[in-house]
């Protein structure tokens, strides 16, 4: 079965590693990772992932919200899910900008299940 291409973006390498491990375990083998905003935009633009999980604070000046904004132009089919510890502060903004979901940090079992359910929705 062909699995959707997924992009994981977080400024912590460990976080993206864990998430990739988890997704791979769940059968999602086509996973890309990035730690900076620029890196994320490059991947979105070139590889057009089906899903992008974006952290808000990233390793450079381009934050997750900025990446979300530009994603619509770069790859309109990419569905964006925000992952953040900032919770409600960015929730509305993210939804208004077209994000399909919001996962709160720290990521626990429930949040992981939510990720999978979001992925399986489409």
């Amino acid at each position: 079965m062909e699995t959707p291409k997924i992009l994981l973006v977080d400024d912590e390498n460990d976080v993206v590693d864990f998430l990739r491990d988890f997704l791979e375990l769940k059968g999602y083998s086509d996973v890309e990772t990035a730690t900076s905003g620029q890196e994320a935009l490059n991947i979105i633009s070139s590889k057009k992932p089906r899903f992008a999980f974006l952290d808000i604070q990233l390793a450079d000046e381009i934050n997750g919200i900025e990446v979300l904004k530009r994603t619509r132009d770069l790859s309109s089919d990419t569905k964006v899910v925000m992952i953040s510890g900032y919770r409600k502060e960015f929730f509305k903004t993210a939804l208004a900008l077209g994000a399909i979901g919001f996962i709160a940090k720290p990521v626990k079992k429930n949040e992981l299940n939510e990720m999978i359910s979001l992925l399986s929705q489409t």
């Binding site: 976080v15 604070q57 510890g85 940090k105 720290p106 990521v107 079992k109 949040e111 992981l112």
Partner: protein, 745 residues
């Protein structure tokens, strides 16, 4: 010349001396009236001198007319003098007395037959007139005026205290001697045949008066009189001796030198005149040394005290020193210094020295009449004088002042005034000797008070700026914490996120393992689990490091301690990481020395953190300028170089970045408080100034050098810990179970 004439001569001479001194040095109203009084005495003296010499009735009449006019006015002016001395308001009475003196003078001059008539030679040498009805009236009036003057003075003597009492006592004695002596001179005219020897009493009056002036500052003219006395003595000698020689030995000189007899007296006079000024100066110095011995001793104390005062920047120590100087210089029972507290609108006792268990009023409201009064007179306030005035005038404010001073056990209050502003005052108790405060004391304390006012102002300034530094340090740390907090929260969040995410993934991963799972797969999972757990543990350690760095940052330990620089650097880097979490730079450590340093941990952490924070800002800005094309640099890699080395007993730290650098103008203003290159949002402008002041407090220095768009280098020099300090710190650490070591906390 008969004896009466001689008495007149002496009277004229002594009163003339007093007149000259008073006119030359006198300033007050009392001085003026006192010199006027002496003029009338002088006229009396001249009259007596001429009367004693008068060979005819005609000349005697002229002489006695002069004496009588002098006499009439002596009484009136004497009463006037006493009114001034005792601060009495007797305008109408004075007017009457002066009018009568004028009227009697008029009659004496123009209707002398009514006053001076029926001449008779008495004691074979002096022409006296016989009493007429008008003469009787005049004499009676004269006795009344003089008696009234004595009565007023006696009453004043009774109610006055301390120095004023002594002064009035001597004034009364001297005037009594003078008036009784002078008055008895007229007895022969009244038919009482007593030779007017008593007229010498008038000259004695001047002597007693002078003594009182010298001893009890009756007129504050001690020094003036001494100088004048020395002058008269020297020049009488210088000019008098040659003249005496001429008078006594003219004939012998003529017989010996012939027509050139005058040469010898001239030569002697020339010699004396040349030597005169030197003798005068020598005697004057000797006399003044004696007179001003106390004053000079005070001056010495003052010079030393003011030197000492200016060195003290700690307010409380300064106040204690002032009180110490005051009590020790003049040996007083107690002294206190009150300082203005502008917030409470009160003068508050800040330092005091009590010899006995005195009740002291330790707060004085600025609205108190005492404060108003001192502010108005801007001069020392003497309790005895205030009390006296309060009793004399029944003024409510003076009574209140007197009451307050009594409560403060204050004999004298000296204000500390700077630029017309009273910053405080010194309150002084009784002298241990029981003596009163002299003019020298008052003068010395006025100077001391003004000197100390300056020192106090300085100390307050230092204290405030010192307080300000502590406050600024605290505030800048709080601000720093504020700025760090979001970064810290994010970092801690990330650590927790890794741990919780890792845990969740692991649980999910391991939940499907059963006894049927192939061995190979299990081994793979175990290997992966190990790695994941390692990541989670590392994340926890990293979180702990951040928490520790923050904890140490927040906990300001004021004491210096032995510090290893690298530990400070690491904890500072942890903080920097929370503030610039994603900023990547190269860190180059060039440690030539790892000597422990002796400084305040928080201070050093603050300084190093601030500087590396600045480095990051500078490098970020340079990166931005490059990305915006404002600056062209190939392959820019942000880099911080940290170098350490020993310089004698000091430890040198260099923190260099290849960031945006600073312009010369920025460099010059670097240590100015509130100056920032970062704009209002980011910088507080406190960093470098606070760093500078904090390092100064740690006996360190900080210097900064930079080339715009290229680099910035901060050089910090701080004392190395001595072996003794290291040993002591080790022992302390062992005693406290290393509780003082912030790294282990």
């Amino acid at each position: 010349m008969n004896i009466f004439s001689l008495s007149g001569f002496f009277i004229a001479l002594t009163s003339a001396v007093l007149i000259v001194i008073l006119l030359k040095y006198g300033k007050s109203k009392l001085h003026k009236i006192w010199s006027f009084f002496n003029i009338t005495v002088f006229i009396w003296g001249i009259g007596c001198y001429l009367a004693g010499k008068a060979a005819t009735i005609e000349t005697a009449k002229v002489a006695w007319t002069i004496a009588c006019i002098g006499g009439y006015f002596i009484a009136a002016v004497c009463y006037h003098t006493i009114c001034v001395f005792c601060d009495l308001q007797r305008k109408k009475v004075l007017f009457l007395f002066y009018f009568l003196a004028l009227l009697f003078s008029f009659f004496t001059i123009f209707y002398s037959q009514l006053v001076l008539t029926n001449w008779e030679m008495m004691f074979d040498s002096i022409y006296y007139n016989k009493m007429t009805p008008l003469y009787g009236i005049i004499f009676l009036e004269w006795v009344i005026v003089v008696s009234l003057a004595f009565y007023e003075l006696a009453m004043f003597l009774k109610r006055s205290t301390d120095i004023k009492k002594s002064q009035s006592y001597y004034l009364l004695i001297s005037l009594m001697v003078g008036f009784v002596g002078g008055g008895m001179t007229l007895f022969p005219a009244l038919g009482i045949r007593i030779y007017p020897f008593t007229n010498f009493g008038v000259a004695v009056y001047a002597m007693i008066g002078t003594y009182a002036i010298l001893k009890y500052r009756l007129m504050d003219l001690r020094v003036a009189i001494t100088r004048f006395g020395v002058f008269v003595f020297v020049y009488t000698l210088v000019l008098g001796l040659p003249f005496a020689m001429v008078f006594a030995y003219k004939k012998s000189l003529q017989s010996f030198w012939g027509d050139f007899w005058w040469i010898l007296p001239m030569v002697i006079m020339a010699l004396f005149a040349t030597a005169g000024p030197y003798i005068y100066l020598f005697l004057q110095k000797k006399a003044e040394d004696r007179l001003l011995a106390t004053q000079k001793q005070y001056q010495q104390t003052l010079i030393q005290a003011s030197l000492g005062m200016n060195r003290i920047k700690e307010l409380q120590r300064l106040l204690n020193l002032i009180v110490h100087i005051v009590t020790k210089t003049v040996r007083i029972e107690h002294a206190g210094i009150y300082l203005l507290d502008p917030e409470r609108n009160q003068y508050i006792l800040k330092a005091s020295r009590l010899e006995k268990d005195f009740l002291i009023r330790d707060k004085i409201d600025i609205e108190e009449s005492l404060i108003k009064h001192i502010e108005k007179i801007e001069a020392p306030l003497i309790f005895a004088e205030i009390k006296q005035k309060a009793e004399d005038t029944s003024r409510e404010d003076l009574r209140r002042i007197s009451f307050l001073m009594e409560q403060m056990r204050s004999e004298m209050i000296v204000p500390n005034i700077v630029n017309k502003k009273m910053v405080g005052f010194i309150s002084m108790g009784k002298k241990k000797s029981g003596k009163m405060y002299t003019e020298e004391d008052i003068a010395v304390f006025s100077i001391l008070a003004n000197q100390s006012a300056l020192a106090i102002e300085n100390a307050i300034f230092y204290e405030e700026s010192g307080k300000d530094l502590a406050q600024r340090f605290h505030e800048s740390r709080l601000r720093g914490l504020g700025q760090l907090s979001s970064g810290v929260a994010h970092q801690i969040h990330n650590r927790l996120n890794i741990i919780s995410l890792g845990g969740a993934v692991l649980i999910d991963m391991l939940k499907d393992i059963t006894s049927q799972t192939p061995r190979e797969e299990v081994d793979q999972l175990i290997e992966k689990t190990k790695k994941d757990i390692e990541k989670m543990v590392n994340s926890a350690i990293r979180g702990e490091e951040i928490a520790n760095a923050i904890k140490n940052y927040a906990r300001a330990n004021p004491k210096p301690q032995v510090i290893v620089f690298d530990e400070i650097l690491q904890s500072s880097l942890s903080l920097v990481m929370t503030k610039h979490p994603d900023f990547k730079y190269e860190l180059v450590k060039e440690y030539s020395s790892t000597s422990p340093i002796w400084a305040n941990y928080s201070t050093m952490q603050d300084v190093i953190f601030n500087n590396i924070d600045n480095c990051c800002d500078a490098m970020k800005l340079k990166k931005k300028h490059i990305s915006e094309g404002r600056l062209v640099v190939d392959n820019y890699i942000p880099r911080i170089r940290i170098a350490t080395s020993d310089v004698d007993s000091n430890f040198k730290i260099e923190i260099e970045d290849n960031g945006i650098g600073m312009t010369t103008d920025q460099l010059e203003k670097m240590f100015v408080p509130f100056y920032t290159t970062k704009g209002a949002q980011k910088g507080t402008g406190m960093g470098m100034n606070v760093a500078y002041q904090l390092l100064s407090a740690n006996k360190g220095t900080i210097a900064i050098d930079s080339v715009y768009q290229s680099w910035t280098k901060v050089t910090i020099i701080i004392p190395k810990a001595t072996p003794q300090q290291i040993e002591a710190d080790k022992n302390k650490g062992e005693d406290n179970g290393n509780a003082e070591n912030p790294i282990s906390g």
